[in-house]
């Protein structure tokens, strides 16, 4: 069952339904599907949430997922993780679910379209100054762009833009390339070898979701950390020791 043909580079080109200027393509449809799975799944589990000793197995599952995500984030920021779990955890879960569901026949990963990954990277692009300003104030955040001298301002801006582009293209390229590789292998060596590649694809999908979340956390942490070091320096100079 092939939804996206081999010579179509993006599932955006497969339009299912259109009315006037509104078009519904495969990417939007499967994004909605992944969103629905995540929302209804967590709603069903957290509907009967309990703090007893005996909890349901699905609550156990969600608790394990959340605690792993919080542990990873806490290791990176070295302090509280609760501010960042909503954004980074959602990014991870969305990308992970949409990458893993690829094994379902007929499913097209929304992350194999550049529009989806660009939207996710734009979330990170906006979140970095949001967390930076809300933690350190707008003056200190903007001052970071002029470190060490004002000449470096365009390079800082270029760095922000290019890492957003890198986030976009990395996820898109990995997932899209894997679909194309499986499509080509199906034509060359059918039946057994594509299955092995599908299993490899599951691994790659989870790793890419992990990398996307970790990298966005690194970028957010980089906007936070500079001020902390400065404070530490001031404290060191001020202390009599």
């Amino acid at each position: 069952m092939e939804v996206v043909a081999l010579n179509q580079i993006s599932p955006d080109q497969v339009v299912i339904w259109s009315w006037e200027f509104i078009t519904l393509n495969v990417t939007i449809l499967y994004t909605w599907l992944v969103m629905a799975i995540l929302v209804t799944g967590s709603w069903l589990v957290t509907r009967r949430i309990s703090s007893e000793i005996h909890v349901s197995r699905w609550q156990h599952f969600l608790e394990v997922v959340i605690s792993v995500i919080r542990g990873e984030i806490r290791e990176m920021t070295k302090k509280g993780a609760d501010d960042y779990v909503p954004l980074v955890g959602t990014l991870f879960l969305f990308i992970c679910v949409s990458n893993v569901l690829v094994i379902v026949p007929g499913f097209v990963a929304p992350t194999s379209s550049m529009t989806t990954t660009a939207a996710l990277a734009a979330c990170v692009f906006i979140a970095v100054p949001y967390y930076g300003i809300s933690r350190n104030g707008i003056f200190h955040y903007v001052k970071e762009y002029f470190q060490p001298t004002f000449i470096f301002f365009p390079f800082h801006v270029m760095g922000e833009l290019s890492r957003t582009l890198a986030l976009t293209v990395r996820l898109f390229g990995n997932i899209m390339s894997h679909e194309k590789v499986i499509g080509i292998l199906l034509a060359v060596t059918p039946f057994l070898f594509p299955v092995v590649m599908q299993i490899l694809g599951l691994l790659i999908g989870v790793i890419q979701a992990y990398i996307f979340a970790i990298l966005s956390m690194v970028y957010i942490a980089s906007a936070l950390s500079a001020e902390e070091e400065e404070r530490a320096d001031v404290k060191k100079e001020g202390s009599p020791a």
Binding site: N7, Q8, I9, E72, E75, A166, V169, R170, F172, G173, N174, M176, S177, K180, I207, Y210, I211, I214, L215, V218
Partner: protein, 88 residues
């Protein structure tokens, strides 16, 4: 040779060259990074978690170069912007 076949030939050869030359550097770099990380993990198994995380982030950075080459070769083959100039 008309312009259509010149564009087609240049696109296909360019895609192959982009993929072939472009994956040499990331391949060498990833090999070095993994070798160093393995040596570090073998010396300090306690630091395995942070080493692995840093390794994955670094590998993603290196790999993105090869991914750029791949995306460009896919664009050249499947979504070539120069076709519209040639085919009227």
């Amino acid at each position: 040779m008309d312009s259509v076949s010149i564009v087609a030939m240049a696109s296909i050869i360019g895609a192959g060259l982009a993929m072939g030359i472009g994956s040499i550097g990331p391949g060498l770099g990833m090999g070095q990074a993994i070798a160093q990380a393995l040596a570090a993990i073998a010396q300090q198994p306690d630091e395995r978690n942070s080493l692995t995380r840093t390794l994955f982030v670094g590998l993603a950075m290196i790999e993105s170069i090869a991914i750029y080459c791949f995306v460009i070769s896919m664009i050249l083959i499947f979504a070539n912007p120069f076709w519209s100039h040639v085919i009227k």
